[in-house]
């Protein structure tokens, strides 16, 4: 070995390398740093053996422990569902859905489960608080087209409205104007007449012209006084709530073009327990009958 050279100023050994007369000192790495470095090296070898590490041609080395984040997530989800299972099952085993609201614990469970399901699936159309929008019924009020009891709400959730499901709630509000059944002036008279059900003023002439038309085309579903029929899904025309707007022009548009909003069927996408929890939640939003 070459003779060690000690730098005079610092008293430290040099590496023997010199550039432009400047010599490099051979200061050793700090000991604590070296110790941590070697611990890391040893740890990495252990890690390679235990955990998924090396890529291969057809897959990867899975590690001795067989660790997999995907499996962990699946296990965690399964564990959560197993934990929920008992209460979820109770949601279906109660004699009627109304019994859920009599059991404070079960009610709390259903409301929490329902709130998260509502946020994921329903809020897009019906609004985060169930406030609805034009064409999308508000779920917080007490006006229900297809019925607001727990059982009615659950049925609507299961099969939807005009969803294409064989058991879907189904009816037709025809496009009386577009189909040429009614003329423009007849539609104007009818709109004025329909608005008079909820206390709006209307000219007596218009009413007298519209009444026979109403008797012919509307009364079978909406009733003589426009109170509607939940069994048929015919909206109440005599209250303060209008799904598509209550101005004269809105009502006229409904008569001219017809209406046919779609609510998807959720059975098959959600479990029956989930649909029950969701029905309890929607019922609790305020309008439940």
């Amino acid at each position: 070995m070459a003779e060690r050279e000690i730098d005079e100023t610092s008293g430290v050994e040099t590496t023997g390398h010199a550039w432009d007369g400047i010599k490099e000192l051979n200061n050793p790495l700090p000991r604590w740093w070296l110790i941590i470095f070697w611990i890391c090296v040893v740890w990495s070898v252990i890690y390679w053996v235990l955990m998924p590490s090396w890529p291969g041609l057809t897959g990867h080395f899975a590690g001795v422990r067989g660790h997999s984040e995907r499996k962990n997530v699946a296990a965690a989800v399964a564990a959560l569902e197993a934990e929920r299972q008992e209460r979820m099952a109770r949601l279906l085993s109660v004699e009627s859905i109304d019994a859920v609201e009599q059991d404070p614990q079960l009610l709390e469970f259903a409301l929490n489960a329902g709130a998260s399901l509502f946020g994921d699936n329903c809020a897009t159309c019906h609004g985060a608080g169930g406030q609805g929008a034009k064409g999308y019924p508000a779920l917080v009020d007490d006006d229900w087209i297809w019925g607001g009891s727990l059982a009615d709400i659950r049925r609507t959730l299961q099969f939807g409205v005009r969803s294409g499901h064989p058991e879907a709630r189904l009816n037709v509000m025809q496009a009386y104007g577009d189909l040429g059944v009614l003329s423009g002036s007849e539609i104007g008279d009818l709109a004025e007449y329909v608005r008079s059900f909820s206390g709006n003023s209307a000219s007596p002439e218009a009413i007298s012209r519209a009444r026979p038309l109403y008797e012919t085309h509307c009364v079978s579903c909406h009733g003589a006084e426009g109170r509607g029929d939940q069994a048929l899904g015919a909206p109440n025309l005599s209250d303060a709530i209008w799904l598509y707007g209550g101005e004269r022009a809105d009502v006229a548009q409904t008569l001219r073009d017809g209406r046919g909003g779609v609510m998807p069927a959720w059975t098959g996408r959600m479990s029956e327990e989930q649909i029950t929890a969701l029905a309890v939640y929607v019922h609790s939003l305020g309008g439940g009958e």
Partner: protein, 502 residues
């Protein structure tokens, strides 16, 4: 006789005397300002055991503080069936902090803040009065380092034996002694880490689970971290923690003034220093015989005779060491003593020393401490046992019902801080007649009744409905209130909103 003299001469040669019967110790203040260098490697310190009042006080405080730390979680404090019976418990899972008769909910964390403020003020006061008394006696770093040094002394002997052992080649004995020392250190460290987790779970349960391997991974993790830090900080790092890592020395230096009591070498009395023989006159010289006993005793590796220094933790072990020597040479004790900078100046001017514990700074700290303490006590004694929070629905802010009436929805959170279940009556106070209803709870004469379990919170969604035209203003103030059978009451304001008239 001649033989005896020879022996004495040989002993004197080996360890020269600073004064008759007082050995001059070959101790170097490795951390003194003169020895300071930017890239200096740490030099080990081998503090010599001393005897005296301060050492005794430190032993007593060590036993007391460690006793509290290790044993407190085992203390029971019955609180009824619904709540844990551990006197001091930080229950993260249940969201409660228990301290004897005090129970704090997460929403009352300001009590903990108040406690920290009190602790800070107490530290300010103690520092203004007695300098770094916290550092010297009560700081965990000092206490555990002291304990570790005691274990080291047990296995490796006192200062000289430890220095000798460090220089000795690796024999079986040295290996055994060193291994034994580290084993004891690790045992103490593990007990420290183990005791920590007892504060966060029921102590007997978690202890049994811990040894059976059934405790939560976090329990092992925290026990492990605390074991490691205790072992490292008290075993290897010691005085470096105080000098380089801890911010307190800097802050505490700002809290002391010229009237604060600090461990002080009375240079006016000690200088000029030098060796002394029995029978020599003490006139014309100082009392310091330069035996360096104070340096050998110092766990921080400094020489107190250099004056106040950043490294000094005011542990007063040098006072004990010096007093022992002063007694031997027949001079009064207190060459090194708790004294003030002001007194040092007075002595130089030939004035009498005066101790002023009562001064603007200390009175102020004590007053603020008393004020904050009184506020805390008042807040604790007036702590609500019932609480009510109201959250108004904002999507939508109001709902128009089919008959034209307007309804607002609110979520009430009713808190029962008592340990027994209670029935509460919810009422609504409003300027206009409004109807109060709720899901799952029937209303009787516009009041809702519901049971809430002990030490629990219940959320209740309520609806307030105004008949058409009843709510005249777009925004109307309301007050919700809850009351139990005994009249314990809480109320919270809310707003009723309706459509603005077009």
């Amino acid at each position: 006789m001649a033989e005896l003299d020879l022996k004495r001469a040989a002993r004197a040669l080996k360890s020269p005397e600073a004064a008759t019967g007082v050995a001059a110790i070959d101790a170097v203040a490795v951390n003194s300002a003169a020895a300071r260098q930017l890239y200096k490697k740490r030099e080990p310190i081998y503090p010599k055991l001393v005897y005296g009042r301060f050492r005794a006080a430190k032993w007593a405080l060590l036993a007391a503080t460690l006793g509290v730390y290790y044993l407190l979680p085992w203390l029971r404090w019955p609180r009824g069936p619904a709540e844990p019976d551990q006197a001091v418990l930080v229950d993260f899972a249940g969201g409660r902090f228990y301290f004897f008769f005090i129970e704090i909910w997460p929403s009352e964390l300001y009590f903990v803040t108040g406690l920290l403020i009190l602790a800070a003020l107490a530290l300010f006061l103690a520092t203004a009065l007695f300098g770094r008394v916290w550092c010297g006696y009560a700081c965990p770093q000092t206490v555990w380092t002291d304990l570790f040094i005691a274990a080291e002394r047990l296995l490796e002997g006192d200062r000289n034996a430890r220095i000798k052992l460090a220089k000795a080649p690796w024999t079986l004995e040295k290996i055994l002694r060193k291994t034994g020392k580290h084993a004891i250190w690790l045992l103490i460290a593990a007990a420290t880490g183990g005791a920590w987790i007892l504060y966060f779970h029921d102590a007997p349960t978690i202890a049994a689970k811990f040894f059976r391997g059934e405790a939560a991974p976090s329990a092992y993790l925290f026990a492990g971290i605390l074991t490691f830090t205790t072992y490292m900080l008290a075993g290897s790092m010691r005085e470096q923690v105080c000098t380089y890592m801890c911010p307190w020395p800097r802050i505490q230096a700002a809290l002391t003034d010229e009237e604060s009591l600090q461990v002080t070498y009375r240079a006016d009395r000690g200088e000029p220093r030098g060796p002394h023989k029995k029978g020599d006159s003490w006139t014309g010289r100082g009392d310091c015989v330069d035996c360096r006993a104070c340096v050998a005793a110092c766990p921080m590796g400094i020489d107190i005779r250099d004056g106040a220094q950043l490294e000094c933790i005011n542990c007063a072990l040098c006072i004990d060491a010096c007093d022992e020597v002063m007694a031997k040479v027949g001079r009064p004790k207190g060459l090194i003593a708790y004294d003030t900078d002001r007194n040092m100046a007075r002595r130089r001017l030939g004035e009498r020393p005066r101790f002023r514990l009562v001064r603007a700074r200390t009175v102020l700290y004590a007053a603020v401490f008393a004020l904050v303490g009184a506020i805390m006590l008042f807040a604790l004694s007036a702590r609500e046992t019932t609480d009510l929070n109201v959250l108004k629905d904002r999507t939508p802010p109001f709902v128009r019902l089919s008959d034209g009436s307007v309804r607002n929805a609110y979520t009430l959170k009713i808190v029962n801080k008592m340990s027994e279940a209670r029935e509460f009556t919810v009422r609504l106070d409003s300027p206009a007649p409004l109807a109060l209803t709720a899901v799952g709870t029937a209303a009787e004469d516009s009041a809702l009744r519901l049971m809430i379990a002990g030490d629990d919170v219940r959320a209740l969604r309520v609806f307030v409905t105004a008949a058409p035209g009843a709510a005249a203003t777009p925004s109307m103030p309301l007050v919700f209130s809850v009351e139990d059978a005994a009249g314990d009451k809480a109320s919270a304001p809310a707003t009723f909103m309706t459509e603005r008239e077009k």
